[in-house]
């Protein structure tokens, strides 16, 4: 009976488990539902754990057998991406091994003891820092999201609006971690920035030697040279041994595997700040250096490919985030956008970090469309796709932060529902 779609989900299995005897009338939690969605292997009948001793301690922990979330790999190419399974995660911190990837020439193999960071240009003292040097400087930690500015582009085309797309496929180029490192301002103070400097160039040690220009003001404000991620060394996929962290800005500018910072009085105009990561607008111009990620939210449950097995109480939940400080409000609509209700925001609400929102909903079993919209501390409200089309045109790229919608069918099947609202 179970049918599995290409993403490995078994909607029918979940439906069957939920509607059948397994639940015994209990409303399933979403984690129960996820577990039920995994194939049931008869050989995996486990003994009563109260009657057999458990396994020993171990040097490295592992996930429960039935809890195996995975990134979604776009293609096995040097320039490619993999996406975080937003719809399978809880809270706001992304497990480091599920942090999204976007590489332009693969993941370089780098030994921290060989790594050097050169800081030069309009500075008094051009210097080379080894990792041991960087780690000796006063340290800071902060929790913030990283999002690729191409995230969400899969739901922007009027003529190709998807229906069977997961939150992971649509918005999985988003992850949140606790980052630890040295503030870039500390390092720039050490080298002595010269009068007239206004930009830095950050350059990576990958095979693309990825480079982006960043205004000095941001570099001196809250930029970090991050070498820690969620309590351990930053992962190779996230820039080991050190990356640039620019809280709230587009991920591409947070150069990974950082090997060089050049202080300058103008941007370099690299490939990834001219021909890419620029946003063509309807008036014939193209927006450049569009660094800040505007307020955005997405409901992660219920979302495709989940199925609500019965009417009644369900908790709608999702993530909201903004690169302009704090999220101040998230509203949820369960009637296709006609009326909106404030959702509960899980505290603490941190600046430039993801926020978990929740809204308890009593589904009457009728077909409807649910949406969320986020507001940030500047008063910016997550726009509709029509608002973005009006402002930027339908051929723009990047920064697709419009409201997302999910359609709940009468049988409980959930599909991406933005097209139904157009």
């Amino acid at each position: 009976m179970p049918t599995r779609d290409k993403h490995g989900f078994s909607r029918r299995a979940w439906l069957a488990a939920a509607a059948g005897g397994a639940a015994g009338g209990l409303v399933l939690t979403r984690m129960d539902a996820l577990k039920a969605a995994l194939p049931q292997d008869p050989s995996a009948q486990l003994p009563d754990p109260t009657k057999v001793p458990g396994r020993f301690v171990s040097e490295l922990g592992r996930r429960a057998t039935r809890e195996q979330p995975r990134r979604l790999v776009r293609s096995l190419a040097l320039s490619s991406s993999s996406r975080t399974p937003l719809h399978e995660l809880q809270g706001t911190i992304t497990p480091s091994d599920l942090h999204f990837e976007r590489h332009h020439a693969g993941v370089p193999e780098i030994l921290a003891e060989d790594h050097e960071l050169l800081v030069h240009g309009m500075v008094d003292r051009p210097m080379v820092f080894r990792m041991a040097d960087l780690r000796r400087y006063p340290q800071a930690s902060r929790i913030c999201f990283i999002e690729c500015s191409g995230n969400g582009g899969g739901a922007y085309s009027r003529t190709r609006m998807p229906t069977t797309i997961t939150a992971q496929q649509l918005d999985g180029l988003l992850s949140t971690s606790e980052w630890t490192g040295v503030m870039l301002s500390t390092i720039l103070r050490e080298v002595g920035v010269r009068r007239g400097a206004s930009w830095i160039l950050a350059e990576g040690r990958d095979a693309a030697v990825m480079a982006r220009s960043v205004p000095l003001e941001k570099a001196m404000d809250d930029a970090m040279l991050a070498y820690g991620q969620n309590g351990e060394a930053i992962r190779p996929e996230q820039g080991y041994p050190v990356r640039l962290l620019l809280p709230g800005w587009e991920g591409n500018a947070m150069v990974k595997w950082l090997r060089r910072i050049e202080v300058s009085d103008r941007p370099t105009m690299t490939r990834d700040e001219t021909s890419r990561y620029t946003d063509p607008l309807r008036d014939g111009t193209a927006r450049q250096f569009s660094f800040v990620m505007d307020a955005k939210s997405v409901i992660t449950f219920p979302s495709y490919p989940y199925v609500l097995p019965e009417r009644g109480w369900w908790e709608i939940e999702g993530l909201a985030w903004t690169g302009r400080g704090r999220i101040t409000r998230v509203e949820v609509s369960t009637d296709g956008g006609r009326s909106w209700t404030p959702a509960a925001l899980q505290q603490p609400v941190l600046p430039n970090s993801t926020v978990r929102f929740r809204h308890l909903w009593n589904w009457d079993g009728r077909e409807t469309v649910i949406l969320s919209r986020a507001t940030d501390e500047t008063g910016y409200v997550q726009p509709t796709v029509q608002q973005l089309w009006d402002a930027r045109g339908e051929r723009t790229s990047y920064h697709h932060n419009h409201q997302r919608a999910w359609k709940i069918a009468g049988d409980g099947a959930v599909t991406f529902g933005l097209g139904d609202l157009l």
Partner: protein, 202 residues
């Protein structure tokens, strides 16, 4: 707004041509208000910690590979369209196709509206500076053997790709001066970000 960039570049070029800036320094301009989550150094922190080592000019030159629109960073050397075609056929054609439009990797030649993806958003219609093409080719191409082209070969293949886009004649030879002088069709298209948060959707 795009004038703003142009002004910055012109001023920078003037600055480069004159003496290097004086060695005195002042604290860089602070952001209007330090972010609440950006911890300041404690008051008793020293002026300098002294961790790290001085980088000699030779050490800097080893890694200082970027090229700016005014030509700063362009190396000596030159290359012709004809030489570039030979480089292209050996090192580029496999990924970008016989005429720079076929792929499988990025399209190099624009054949559509500038904002149309992918036919228009290629070098001819969308790249604002020729310097970017040199910079990117030298740092990242060919994709599986990056950094292996000699500077003359980079000049040559840049010339050839610009020729495929109809931007330089078939007998063109590019060097630092002539490459920096190329005006790209998209140079006037780019404007700074005008999003500011608040109630207006831009």
């Amino acid at each position: 707004m795009r004038r703003l960039f142009a002004c910055v570049v012109v001023l920078a070029a003037a600055a480069c041509a004159s003496e290097p800036p004086p060695a005195d320094s002042e604290p860089p301009a602070q952001a209007s208000e330090p972010a609440a989550d950006a911890p300041a150094l404690p008051g008793h922190a020293p002026e300098r910690f002294g961790f790290g080592t001085a980088a000699s000019p030779e050490r800097v030159a080893l890694w200082d590979i970027d090229v700016k629109p005014d030509g700063e960073g362009l190396p000596p050397g030159s290359g012709s369209v004809a030489d570039g075609q030979r480089v292209y056929e050996v090192s580029c054609l496999q990924c970008h196709g016989p005429t720079g439009t076929e792929g499988p990797n990025d399209r190099l030649v624009s054949t559509g509206d500038w904002d149309q993806w992918p036919p228009g958003r290629a070098i001819g219609a969308y790249w604002p500076y020729a310097s970017t093409l040199f910079d990117y080719t030298r740092r990242a191409m060919p994709q599986t053997t990056p950094g292996t082209l000699a500077d003359d070969e980079v000049y040559a293949v840049v010339a050839y790709v610009l020729h495929l886009n109809g931007l330089v004649p078939a007998d063109a030879v590019l060097d630092a001066a002539s490459l920096a002088a190329i005006e790209m069709p998209a140079s006037e298209r780019f404007v700074p970000d005008n999003r500011t948060g608040g109630s207006v959707v831009r």
